[in-house]
Subunit: 357 residues, 2 copies
Amino acid sequence: MREHEYLQCLHFNSLRLPSGGFANMSLPIVLAVDDADKDRIGAAPDVALAGPDGELLAVLRSVEIYPHNKEERIARTWGTTAPGLPYVDEAIAPAGNWLIGGDLEVLQPIKYNDGLDHYRLSPQQLRDEFDKRGADAVFAFQLRNPVHNGHALLMNDTRRRLLEMGFKNPILLLHPLGGFTKADDVPLPVRMEQHSKVLEDGVLDPETTIVSIFPSPMHYAGPTEVQWHAKARINAGANFYIVGRDPAGMGHPTEKRDLYNPDHGKKVLSMAPGLEKLNILPFKVAAYDTVAKKMAFFEPSRSQDFLFISGTKMRTFAKTGENPPDGFMCPGGWKVLVDYYNSLQTEGATAPAAATV
Amino acid sequence: MREHEYLQCLHFNSLRLPSGGFANMSLPIVLAVDDADKDRIGAAPDVALAGPDGELLAVLRSVEIYPHNKEERIARTWGTTAPGLPYVDEAIAPAGNWLIGGDLEVLQPIKYNDGLDHYRLSPQQLRDEFDKRGADAVFAFQLRNPVHNGHALLMNDTRRRLLEMGFKNPILLLHPLGGFTKADDVPLPVRMEQHSKVLEDGVLDPETTIVSIFPSPMHYAGPTEVQWHAKARINAGANFYIVGRDPAGMGHPTEKRDLYNPDHGKKVLSMAPGLEKLNILPFKVAAYDTVAKKMAFFEPSRSQDFLFISGTKMRTFAKTGENPPDGFMCPGGWKVLVDYYNSLQTEGATAPAAATV
């Protein structure tokens, strides 16, 4: 991004289009450089962007370099500058004090060579895929965790509602986030294997589901980030977006409270400039129904029958080898998680430091 | 403001209009209440708003009460949460943890009874006044300091440029800010007296100038606040807005640097949603020309001839009784400042604590 785009992101969460309308853009996509890089670039108009092995990936043309005011970027993006924001610690704090923007000429698609590149479909590839399948509605589900039967219930119920609304062929875009996540989140390769099992086990229908990786880093920036999550999926052809309580939220890093008001994500999303065409599907709360012995939509009238199983609780089950209640997750998917945590413990026995991964 | 308006302010600096367009709104206009007030209000649909002497001023109808997350409000408005922001210390930190919004029914115009109410024209009164004077262009000048001849040069030159552009009767709205300012800024009554002298002395032409008080508190919120400064003047009938370096800016409260990039105010203002009709007039820098012995537009080619006299420097002159260079300010206006600082010193001799005012 150039500075005028960066400023519009920070102040307006949207970019003015030549047509006069607005495109939603709540997170700046910027490249930081340090003083040494800035000096090396000097007055050069164009800068090559290389991969980790030095391979030329893209050229940034007619560059401009402008100050990277980290404090302001963090405050306007997260609504706090408290220490301990994961993406700030990971990506912003260590970054250079300058940002470089320009016209990006991509020479070749980015490859990760991690065995998962076939899951990394571009927005155009996704739109083509939806066309090929004859989708007349596409509903997107953002996730960064293993799929349990509560998620599946929600997705299958959404499909049912879309059919009731008159759509003939609603397609689900199961779009797990593939970039940076918190250290205690389940790593991407394990999640992708778990998602495969969920489709193999028939919990989600492979005929009406497309699984693809959304290669964005997780910011945990709540109402600001959920706009990006929705906008990127619209861009890839989705027209329905499922949003729940406290999307992209987290606990406050230094205070005992949620960082964001859990309702603000949905409210801000529903009012955001440039997202007028988005259809927001409110997320019903699913929990384990101890009477029916399955994940079901929570019924306040018999709240005592329901058990909420948090991500932390789920990870504890998998780590300790304890089985979650029957019907919480399909057996194939659960085994992937148990095997992953077992492998960590084995590694941990020989290399304790790895146990914190 | 209700919560949906408050959130739009914080995230988008603009409010979506029923027509589909956007109205610029970068600062939330909110009323904080504390736990005790919230309890007293209970489930009452309507709340009376009373003045300091208990007189009924307005009714807030169909109220809603929502959390006042001060940290988030401050971070998203100022781009920092560093301690020492004047308006935060003055108005936000001591305020309650709830905000109350609703439909405002104003029963009577607010009076300050400070001898300056005749200067407090509503937007409608200002528009009527411009009509009465037959203005075909209105240019607004935001200020919170005494008017020196550099400001006057700028305003008179703007009028000249507007005449050159073909306007027949450009009118200046001299619109000093009347709400909270920093402790070391010159108080409003003194500034209003100084502005009167500037008009009496003919430095500004009373025939083509309207002086009115802008009753907003100063936030010192840079690029976020300058939008409000401009939007409020458009609302009052102005179509040209003069903007300079680092509008509404200040030094960083804890670091040795400007809080905002001095160019960002103008850039953000020029891109802000809902301000498309605003004509921004860039502020030329005026300084004291030691050769011509008057305030003149700075010429970089002979920079050694120019003397920059900051607000701090000006206040030091007035406090110490030293005269500024000839032609810096009209004698009548300067005398107002000298008398004010003399009066402080007299008070200070009997009551030292007052000397910090």
